[in-house]
Amino acid sequence: MTGHPESGVLAEYQAGLVTGRRRASIASHLATCDRCAGLSDQLGEIPALLAAAPHPAMPADVARRLDLVLAAEAAQRHSSERTADDSPEHRATIPGPRRRWDFRLVTQRILVPAAAVVALAAGGFGLSHVIGSSASSSVAAGSEAAPAPSARPANGTAAARSEAGRPGAVPAFETPARFQVVNSATNYLPATLRQQLETELQRHTQAAAAPQVLVSGSLKGCVLRVTHGTRPGTLVLVERAHFQGQPAIVIVAVSGHDRAAWVAASGCSASTDHVLATATLPGTSAP
């Protein structure tokens, strides 16, 4: 070095991390070198510059989602105060191994020979107001032991079964009305997915005047993730069914003028989804 300290050294000097003779030598250098003194001044202004940068406001959808998650937590705490499994460490910050966030569409990652989730975004329905707000898989884990599914196929299957088998065991979410999860024997097939969905929609779309929330944590998180980008208040059907013989969950929501369908594996949660198939349906005869 030719006597000009690097900016990193100057920054450490300013932070008091340089001591002794080195500090003295930098100090005397700064006293005589305009270049380094100017650099030092600029470095010193960075904290103020950063402090002046305004904080981005939390987006409204994130705020709403988190409000609902906390409301769900409160309701769950209220209803399960007597249950012992309310361990505070339930994956609150450490949500399981290898959870992934590549939640975008249709990756056909059939990792799980398990149940699937069919999500259908239905265009043109002005129907219900499911707040597709997610309870994360953290909530899911706390409430119904549906663990990170992608990494554990066996668990994913088991969790899906137990979830389907005991819908009543899910902690209640009381404040807004429940969005009814339909249990159906329908076995969706790729070739007939659209027709089946049309039929199912006619049978089960739920018109709702008030905000509704999904009860099940993992299911709710899944819906939010799978229908990502769909505005809240557009979900009209969530159904436990089958896809190609495997237990499945069907989700229907309003989205623009078309209706889009997703089929995802059952382990789907707020943070992972396993979309097995999707379909787009033309806008239907709106109610």
Partner: protein, 203 residues
């Protein structure tokens, strides 16, 4: 700095009520600080999706572990610590998979889309946020907590679970790294045009 009107319960009081079973207290505490918590999450992970997920993890964790809060730090420090840890947790997991450049664009988009007042200082902020993305994550986290959020070095050390010396060092190196990208924001200094600082220093 949490303002406390005469009317409003303090953060600590809200947390106490929450632990005592008040079902609204935690939500109020969260709403009181959510923009700052959002800012730290977004700037730590640089991806609005992950920031939202991390914040959700963190808030659930805080909700459930509120009883562990000992009052030896401010509630905000405690909250930020949980949020930052949730973010770093995500970053660690993200590190094992390929980086997505889409995240950066989304972060920018989100910032643009949700700015309540787009005219105000947008240029500065975008520059700052873009510059922050150049930093290694530990440096970025330290700088966000200290310089942007105004926590003391000691509080930042508690939040980031490291030593004050490490915080100082990370901040110093981060500032040196940022300098080339933000110097122009202080437009009135001719020196900023003239001087081209040594790239990066060490890492």
């Amino acid at each position: 700095m949490p303002a406390t009107d005469g009317e409003r319960p303090s953060d600590a009081e809200l947390l106490r009520r929450h632990v005592a079973g008040d079902s609204d207290a935690f939500g109020e505490l969260f709403r009181r600080h959510r923009d700052r918590l959002w800012a730290v999450a977004l700037r730590t992970v640089c991806d609005p999706e992950e920031a939202a997920d991390a914040l959700q993890d963190a808030m659930i964790s805080a909700f459930r572990r509120a009883g562990d809060f000992r009052g030896d730090s401010a509630v905000t420090t405690w909250l930020h610590r949980i949020v930052v840890n949730a973010c770093l947790d995500r970053l660690r997991r993200r590190a094992v998979r390929p980086a997505t450049s889409a995240g950066d664009e989304q972060a920018l988009d989100a910032l643009l889309a949700h700015d309540p007042d787009p005219a105000r200082a947008t240029d500065i902020r975008l520059d700052v946020d873009a510059a922050l993305r150049m930093l290694p994550e530990p440096q970025r986290a330290a700088l966000v907590v200290v310089d942007m959020l105004g926590f003391s070095v000691d509080d930042a050390a508690a939040i980031l679970n490291t030593s004050p010396g490490t915080i100082k060092s990370r901040c110093a190196r981060a500032r040196a790294r940022l300098l080339p990208y933000v110097a122009h924001l202080r437009g009135n200094r001719s020196a900023s045009q003239r001087v081209s600082p040594a790239q990066g220093g060490d890492t």
